[in-house]
Symmetry: C2
Subunit: 186 residues, 2 copies
C-alpha cells in the first residue's frame, strides 16, 4: 500500500480569467481537507503558499486546535489538524516527503478540465494498493493548478464527472470525492 500525501497549492494557480495568481489561505480549506484526509488515511496534508504571513496564519490555526483552547474543546479537530504541515512551494513539499519516507513521491495532478491523457480513478486506486513508493495528490485553489505545475505531474488524474455539464466543485468537495474514489471502503 502506497503512502498517500496531499497538498493544496495557493500559487501558482489560475484565476477565472486564466491569469496566474496567489490565493489566500482560508480556515475552511484547512479544516475540511484535514478532516477528509484523516478519514481516508492520508499521511500528511501540506498547505502550500509563498506568502510568509499566510504560512504564519495557517500555523496559528493548526496550533489553536492542536495545543491551544481548541484541543480540549474539540478533540476530533485536533486529531485531523495534526496531519497538517505548511510549506512555501511544491519543491519544499517534495523534499519534506522524501525526508519522511526516504523516497521521492509520484506526483498526481488534478484538474476539473478534461483533455490530454488521463489516468482513470480505478486505475490509480489499484496502483495505490500495489505501489511501494509514496504518492502526492496535488490540488489547486482558485480556478486550478497553473500549466507549469500540471506539466510536472507524473500522473494526470481524470476530472470528477458529475451527471451534468457543470464542473465547478469547490476544492473542498473535489478533494473529498477524489479521496473517496481512491481510498473509500467499497
Amino acid at each position: 500500500m502506497s503512502d498517500l500525501f496531499l497538498a493544496l497549492l495557493h500559487h501558482p494557480v489560475l484565476d477565472k480569467n486564466g491569469q496566474i495568481v496567489t490565493t489566500a489561505v482560508t480556515n475552511m480549506d484547512i479544516h475540511d481537507i484535514a478532516r477528509s484526509a484523516r478519514t481516508f488515511g492520508v499521511r500528511r496534508f501540506f498547505v502550500v503558499t509563498p506568502v510568509r504571513a499566510l504560512r504564519a496564519l495557517a500555523l496559528k490555526i493548526i496550533e489553536h486546535w492542536e495545543v491551544g483552547y481548541g484541543s480540549t474543546y474539540n478533540a476530533t479537530r485536533k486529531d485531523a489538524l495534526s496531519l497538517v504541515a505548511v510549506e512555501s512551494d511544491l519543491d519544499g513539499v517534495l523534499v519534506a516527503i522524501e525526508r519522511e519516507t526516504g523516497q521521492r513521491p509520484q506526483l498526481v495532478v488534478t484538474s476539473a478540465r478534461s483533455g490530454g491523457s488521463r489516468t482513470r480513478f480505478d486505475a490509480l486506486r489499484g496502483r495505490l494498493q500495489q505501489a511501494t513508493e509514496p504518492h502526492l495528490l496535488l490540488f489547486g485553489t482558485g480556478w486550478g493548478l497553473a500549466p507549469e505545475v500540471i506539466e510536472r505531474g507524473d500522473i494526470h488524474l481524470e476530472p470528477v464527472a458529475g451527471c451534468t455539464d457543470y464542473n465547478h466543485l469547490s476544492v473542498r468537495a473535489a478533494a473529498a470525492i477524489i479521496l473517496d474514489r481512491l481510498c473509500g471502503a467499497r
Copy 2:
C-alpha cells in the same frame, strides 16, 4: 429517474454533547453544497432554519450571487445558487417539494453513526435510477440530525466509510461524497 432534492437542517440537530441545538447558517455551507448539488443534478437545495434572521441572511447571500454584483462577477456561482431555497422546517420542505412535483418525497436520512438497518449506497443508487417519486436527501449540521428527525426517515442511508476509524467529515465533504456515490458518472 427520480427527482433528487437535498436539505441542510440547522435545527433540530445535535451538538458534540448530544444536546439538541440550532446551528448558525454559514456562507460556505450554502456555496459548497449548492455547487455539489448543481454538479450532481439535484433539483433543489433547501437551507432550513427556524431563525428568521438567518433565513434572511441566506436569502441575501443567494440574491447577491443571483441578481446582485456576484451574478456578473462569477456566473458559475449564480448557476449553482439558483438551486437554493430557504425554509423554516422540514415540513415546509416536504410541502414545497410536493407543490413542485405533485408527490410527497421519500425521506432519506444521513448519519455518520452506524447501527440500525441501513440502506447501502449502491441500493439507493439503483432505486433512484428506477423510481418515479421524488427523494429528499437530508443532512444535519453540527453533530448530525436529532433522533426525532432520523425517526421520520423512510430510508436510512449507511454512513460514509473511509479507510480509518475517523468519522468526522465536514457536512460539505459528506454531502459531496454521498452525491458522488449516488449520482456520479462511473
